[in-house]
Amino acid sequence: MKKYSFIIVILLALTAGCKKAAYELYNNGARIQMTDTIAQTFTFIYEPVAVTRDTVYISMNTIGGIADRNRSVTVEQVMEYDTTWVRDPVTKQVIDSSWKPKPYQAVAGKYYVPFTDPGAQAIMVVRADSAIGQFPIILIRDTSLKTNSYRLRIRITANDEFSLGEKKYLEKTLIFSDKLERFDSWKVDNGTAAAYVSFGKYSTGKHQFMIDVLQTRIDEVWYKAISVIGAQGNYTNLLRDALAAFNTDPANIASGKAPVRETSNPTSLPISFPN
């Protein structure tokens, strides 16, 4: 009996010992994560030529309490890759894969002020008595931004003040340039973006056409302003009529400007506004 009881005790200890690790709760220290992981966009295009730097803020949520002092946040740049899969022609199974870095990724010092720069670090904080931080990225207006949009993907790193939050919310991409970009209300091409509902699919050709017709900056501030007063329908009708008038003008047809297309590529699709 003693022999068996000894084994039984060991077995019981074993069963008691093997427990799945408990989930982390929101009560073991301060953590930080991104507010959302949708790519954020920024453009220098509306700023005067003399402006060579600007700051973009990435929103971050903290977990745990607030503090009465500024708490520093650290991030690092991570490279982004395109993956190509090689499949067996017969079984269609993946037999090989290769990664290639995405083009036009930002370079520290040339496109943005490095995160190790002391001046930048001084403002890379969650302010005292705040639960949500605005993380600054100082962008530099390099001339190559006029032709291409560059990407900067950042990942939060743990430091003395904050450990990491949810795994899926640690990285975010910022796309910036010195040409027309989407703005927040038009960040995707589906019904969740209010400007898509008003104006349809985004393209730089359409964006430039809207600026030309309405003679004003077409950005988040403009869209919010017209939404508050309920003028979206007015502008949809106005732009649709202006596009029809432009596309049927014989001078525009002759010079090739009509029909207005999505990009400067002559084979891209003509733009249209929703009915």
Binding site: A231, G233, N234, Y235, L238, A244, A245, N275
Partner: protein, 507 residues
């Protein structure tokens, strides 16, 4: 053992008796308020009348009194805060000079029992109105300026405000002759506001403005009532759709739509392959609003900030009347629409040979929005008349409809005629005194259900003066010459009757 049983039984009985509901009342009985002399409804004019009441309360000295007034304009669903009333008096008797904005209010008589602190309340209705919410508005022009004469019912012989727009707006009327005017309910100044008030929107040849009726204040004018102000100032028409959250406007051949609270938004000039850039001033409001494009010569439907074309749901090549309203060989002469239970429209075309085509159109929502189901024999055009060029209607200077019966009234020179829409038979009603030309014929019918005012109004003009004749309609719908009800300076083009801040539609 017996003792045990007896003890158990005794205890059980005790248990049963112990659990009793407590029916006692804590304090003394609550007093019943006995009050007499309170009216159910008060109707008072702001800045003029007093809300007065001297109720009789049994055991008067047992209570403290106060009177409160609650507005009924709040959104119960989203109102997160308590609605605060105005306290009008802290005495039993009420004598309060009314200064609130017009509207329906709830007047509450509160009696707080001094001993218990319990408040008993009696609710009453208080309709606060202003002078300008009841009466006749005559839209006129005089000397190249558009204004309105307002005539209101009182015992005092001087009971009109001439040039009402100028009276309330620093002496400024609208420039240009009168073009159009409608009464619009439920106007508001922003899309989130819960405060609604009725307005009159008046358009002249060069200008247009929206006036709040209860105080005459201009809310918007041509310069600020559009999201995108038109380049050319040429108002043609303003109309109030059956959907009271919207308002329609036509200027320089193009249409605009306002969702009340916002501004007038552009309607497209080209839509779904059809053009709408040369719109007629003539519109008709049935369940939806009908318009006419002078280039395509077709009747269409206004649909918010876009358009609908008239259609049939099943087409087998047979003309169900739709062909009469589209690609017309001629011009639109006149249209009128009846909203509400009637939901139909009358459309009159004139072809190049001066032959007329009068159609009665099924103006119900389903027929206009979805199309007429041909398979069930539905027709857009329910009556179709051809009128010879000599017919009086083709020589009429003013035309008006009749909401209840298929009749049209029109003026040829100084003679007033009535025409049956089904038979096109004309009958002379009477002839006006020499020199008077007819400037407007309208069916004034208010309210829509069980009208208390049901007259044909005929406005005439002679050497700088107008007269408005009212002909109450009876069974035969015949008009007899009467004395004019109103007279004044200028030329009247539209008559709007208003009661309690609700105005009549134009038929």
């Amino acid at each position: 053992m017996n003792k045990l049983y007896i003890l158990a039984a005794g205890l059980l009985a005790l248990l049963a008796a112990a659990c009793n509901k407590d029916d006692s009342t804590a304090a003394g009985p609550i007093a019943q308020l006995k009050v007499t002399g309170l009216k159910d409804t008060f109707t008072v004019i702001a800045h003029q009348d007093f809300l007065t009441s001297t109720p009789t309360v049994e055991n008067e000295n047992d209570y403290d009194y106060y009177w409160t007034l609650f507005s009924t304009e709040f959104n119960a669903a989203t109102g997160a805060t308590l609605i605060k009333p105005d306290t009008l008096a802290r005495t039993k008797d009420l004598n309060y000079e009314v200064v609130q904005d017009p509207g329906a209010y709830i007047l509450v008589f509160n009696a707080k029992e001094k001993s218990t602190g319990v408040v008993k309340q009696v609710n009453m209705v208080a309709n606060i109105t202003t002078l300008t919410l009841n009466g006749w508005y005559l839209v006129k022009d005089n000397g190249g300026k558009t204004d309105m004469d307002f005539i209101y019912p009182t015992e005092n012989p001087v009971n009109r405000i001439d040039n009402w727009i100028a009276y309330y707006n620093g002496g400024k009327s609208l420039n240009g002759n009168a073009v159009s005017a409608v009464f619009a309910p439920s106007f508001r100044t922003s899309i989130t506001s819960q405060k609604y008030f009725p307005v009159l929107i008046v358009a002249s040849q060069n200008d247009a403005a929206i006036y709040r009726i209860d105080n005459g204040a201009m809310q918007l004018n041509f310069d600020n009532m559009f999201f995108t102000k038109p380049a050319v100032r040429r108002p043609q028409s303003v109309f109030q759709p059956a959907n009271t959250t919207a308002l329609g406007f036509i200027n320089d051949g193009r249409a605009y739509n306002m969702t009340k609270g916002a501004l007038f938004a552009n309607l497209p000039v080209a839509y779904n392959g059809a053009t709408y850039g040369n719109l007629s001033s003539i519109t008709a409001s049935a369940a939806l609003d009908l318009g006419f494009d002078n280039t395509r010569k077709s009747v269409f439907v206004f649909n918010g900030i876009s358009y609908l074309e008239l259609k049939v749901l099943v087409s087998n090549g047979v003309n169900n009347g739709l062909g009469k309203l589209q690609n017309v060989n001629g011009n639109l002469q006149w249209m009128t629409g009846y909203t509400g239970s009637s939901s139909q429209a009358l459309v009159l075309f004139r072809n190049p040979q001066d032959t007329g085509y009068l159609y009665k159109v099924d103006g119900r929502y389903g027929q206009l929005f979805y199309g007429t189901p041909f398979t069930t024999g539905g027709k857009i055009v329910t009556i179709a008349d051809t009128l010879k060029p000599q017919h009086g209607l083709m020589n009429a200077s003013a035309i008006g409809g009749n909401y209840d019966v298929d009749l049209i009234y029109y003026a040829v020179g100084s003679s007033i005629y009535k025409m049956d829409v089904t038979t096109t038979t004309e009958s002379l009603q009477y002839t006006l005194p020499a020199g008077e030309t007819v400037t407007a014929i309208q069916h004034i019918r208010y309210p829509e259900t069980a009208p208390t005012v049901n007259s044909i109004a005929i406005a005439t003009y002679n050497a700088g003066h107008y007269k408005v004749y009212l002909h109450p309609l009876s069974g035969t719908q015949t008009l007899l010459l009467t004395q004019p009800s109103f007279q004044g300076d200028g030329r009247v083009s539209r008559v709007i009757y208003m009661k309690n801040g609700v105005g009549s539609r134009v038929y």
